[in-house]
Amino acid sequence: MLKTDENKISIAEFFEKNRHILGFENSQRALLTSVKEAVDNSLDACESAGILPSIRIEIVERENHEFEVNITDNGPGIDKNKIASSFGSLLYGTKFHSVVQARGQQGIGISAAVLYSQITTGKPAKIISKRAEDRVAYVVKLMINLKKNEPEIMEKEVMMWEHVDHGLSITLFMKGKYQRGKQSIYEYIKNTAIVNPHITIELIEPDKNIVKFARVTDRIPRLPKVIKPYIYGIEIGNIMEIIKRSPDMSVKDFFLKNFSNISTRIASEIESDADVKNIKIHALKHEHIKRIVEYIKKLPVQEPTDEALIPIEEDLIKKGLKNVIGALKPDYYVSPVTGKPKIWNGNPFIVEAGMVWGGDLPADQPIQILRYANRVPLLFQQGGCLITNAISSVNWKQYGLEQRGGSGIPSGPAVALVHVASTKIPYTSEAKEAIAEIPEIENEIKEVVQRLGRRLRMHLNKEIRRKKIEEKFEIINEILPLITEKTVAITGRPEIRYNSIIAKIMNVLWVNVIKENTGEKGKKYTIQVTNYTSAEQQITVYIDCGTVTIKSLSDKNVVNENGRIKWIVKNIDSGNTKTLSMEILSASDDAEIYYADVTGTEVIGIEPLPGDWDIDMPVIEENEEDSSEEDEDEQDS
């Protein structure tokens, strides 16, 4: 970890020593880290100002491996007097001690990029900023004074920024190496677009190739509330640190003032249990704090509110995945799962996960894992990350993925996305590459991805059933007629009928639903019930169309109860089909069709009536079929 006294040593020396933990260990990485720091800052700034972010990154290669990197956003801009300190200070940013979910958690990032540029090319960073309230844009060229550890403004001017109401632009000149593939700027942009479906981001690569992901929602994530930490899971060190920053006061007041969601009763209890009623906090000894922590450990688990956390939320995870991975034409988007807020070490966190299955994804390789912390993609140190470990410790075979030896990254045509949002992400290092081992977070990730796994399994089971049905139809519609035909031809004996064998092979009632659109909101449903068994059968079909006007019905044995249609079909002889045609005007989505009152045989084609039909709208929790399935324009990646 960085220590404050390290500011006393030469800043250049400090940077040289810590290049690896800051993400500048090689020239390829340096380019990526610089872009990433700038983009993370832009997104944070736009969201806190309620602006839908549009970001443009342009990378131009000059001679001698020198790159000109420009990142321009439509953010709120910054005060002209704060430009220098925002981009030229290697001290901690102000965000460091506050408990709030943000991308750029440690404030060192962008200034390190400025420093790296200056060291490798000797050229200053150029920043253009315009706020909505300013009439002109301010242009600042700055470097970092290595002796004083201070920003030094080289040039300052004003300009008219054509067609720009507000925004910020930074240009850096640095030595670098531009590459595509894993751990590249392209990958970072792509992965950022997945979990930030509200942004438009454009990358112009050195060969002028343009990569663009356009926003698929106008919903800006709500702003996280700044909150105080929770006492649950807090350690001695955390308390000592907060005491250091706090004026002297009683223990009870200290807890009431510095922690979230703590009652006077609990604060008093903490005080009396440790027997420190008459000791003020600055006089507390180590063993006092130890007793306090032990007492806190005995308190029941707190459930944090989610006001400090901004999950991406299930429907937007799906939209983001579709927007970016859609080109691979996956067969199935597993409905994403967002967990409940939990606490680690006093910090609230929330885990979300999504998954994509099939299509052009490679089936014989380990699944791709997209890791995110506070909406920022983690591209490095996959093996050393808690997210990877949690996924690896789940038994995926039960959910339909391959996994040798029952642990490790599973294989199969899938991409798994895991997002950890927290007021504080426990990174393994300053470079923010991987999440450290925290049991509370690991358990929650496991739980969330297991829920995801169960949903995948449900889907795969459905696929298996569908395949089985297809196979049966191939037998009865194609193979059995051919077998009979060939048998008759070879033997030269009289024609025979095979119809009664069909029922024996199928042995099901088959409900076939055909849907046609008639005009704008009109739909025509044809429901055919075929008895593929040897005995007579009956069935009741339930159709829920939401609020509808029924234009026509072909069968009189139909009861209509507030848009819920009940079709009673009796005496279906073996091999026979009964049909209901129905034209409706419906504003809502597709009709839901279920069956009941079938005895002694299996039904294929539709699902059984859920138990809560009479109570409420039928909701099948683990079986949801996509409310957000509307067709969106797929973006080419």
Binding site: I479, I501, K504
Partner: protein
């Protein structure tokens, strides 16, 4: 109970007529369904059957393929034609849902028809494109050539270094054994070793008929060895690599292969003896080795449950190989020079077996 092809189809006709889901019942070819004939010492197919039913897609396809194949064979017999296994596979392109997706499927189906009808595939007008082995040694035979003439061939004097190449048909209408001065047949797994022994003139020095097995031997090779051994009264000695797969090569020569267990009587030479390379040879001759791979170990373990290997000799050899965890190739004997195999190893081993 042998049936004609048409009777097989008649049965399916009757099933449909009786409103039964069509099925075929065929004797199973697997390790568990092997039965030894104590009179001959050959392992034959047992009586347990598998049922292919049109209830399942694979079964339905298999029945349809059988029908198409039977129709194809009946048409060929009307037109007096024959077809190779590979041609059969390609012919199925026109068979709609009965099309084969791999040649292995059509090969197996032909074997099924052999079982159902108790006939050899040649009698069903299907022949292999697999070519038989090469033979070198003082053995005189006659072969009926393409012109229909019986041609006399001495497999030592009338052939080049490649030896006499066996045709796919080695039955008496094609090949007859006339005379030999050889004392035994040496069946050799690899081409390299066959060439080595030819170059070292092992056949002349020790009176051997060398037969190159070419890995897992073709039917014609096994049939040739059986006929030659019986008709010329020559003992058969099998010389292979020292690994689990080679043990199976020996088993298919001597006891009968699982895949052709329905015609073992026809192909197996139960008097054939395994000479090496044994696991004991690996130790005694201190041969260069490779470590057993996972699949090797699995194959050895499977052999421990294979009834054909249920003898004192094989149990010891298999367990020894598992213990030393090593395998060796025939040609590893070259460690001691190119003549070692013909001047030392073979004479030693063959005297131990009292063949020499």
């Amino acid at each position: 109970m042998s049936r004609t092809l048409k009777e097989v189809v008649d049965e399916i006709y009757e099933q449909i007529k009786r409103e039964e889901i069509p099925y075929l019942s065929i004797k199973a070819r697997n390790r568990k369904n092997l039965q030894i004939n104590n009179n001959t010492g050959v392992w034959n197919i047992g009586n347990s059957c598998i049922k292919r039913s049109a209830m399942k897609l694979n079964g339905a396809r298999s029945i349809l393929r059988t029908l198409y194949t039977i129709e194809f064979i009946l048409n060929m017999s009307r037109e007096e034609k024959t077809s190779t296994l590979r041609e059969l596979y390609y012919i199925s392109e026109q068979w709609k849902n009965g099309k084969f997706s791999m040649q292995d499927e059509s090969n197996k189906l032909v074997e099924d028809l052999e079982i159902l009808t108790d006939k050899m595939r040649e009698n069903l007008r299907i022949r292999p494109e697999e070519n038989g082995a090469s033979v070198i040694g003082d053995l005189t035979i006659t072969e009926v050539n393409r012109k229909g003439n019986k041609k006399k061939i001495n497999c030592k004097d009338d052939v080049g270094d490649g030896g006499y190449a066996l045709p796919y048909n080695v039955e008496s209408e094609k090949i007859n054994f006339i005379s030999t001065n050889a004392k035994f047949i040496l069946a050799i797994e690899c081409g390299g070793m066959f060439d080595r022994l030819t170059e070292n003139r092992f056949d002349e020095k020790y009176g051997a008929v060398l037969v190159h097995l070419k890995g897992q031997p073709a039917r014609s090779t096994r049939r040739f060895i059986k006929r030659c051994s019986e008709e010329m009264n020559l003992p058969v000695v099998v010389f292979t690599d020292g690994d689990p797969w080679s043990f199976r090569i020996f088993a298919s020569v001597a006891y009968g292969a699982i895949k052709t267990s329905h015609i073992s009587d026809y192909l197996a030479t139960p008097s054939a003896e395994f000479m090496g390379v044994t696991a004991s040879d690996i130790i005694n001759y201190n041969l260069p080795t490779d470590k057993l791979k996972g699949e090797d170990v699995n194959a050895l373990k499977a052999e421990l449950t294979d009834p054909r290997f249920n003898t004192e000799f094989w149990k010891n050899e298999i367990e020894l190989m598992l213990n030393i965890n090593k395998k060796a190739e025939q040609q590893s004997l070259a460690k001691y020079g190119l003549e070692f195999v013909s001047d030392h190893y073979l004479p030693e081993k063959l005297s131990q077996m009292s063949v020499l």
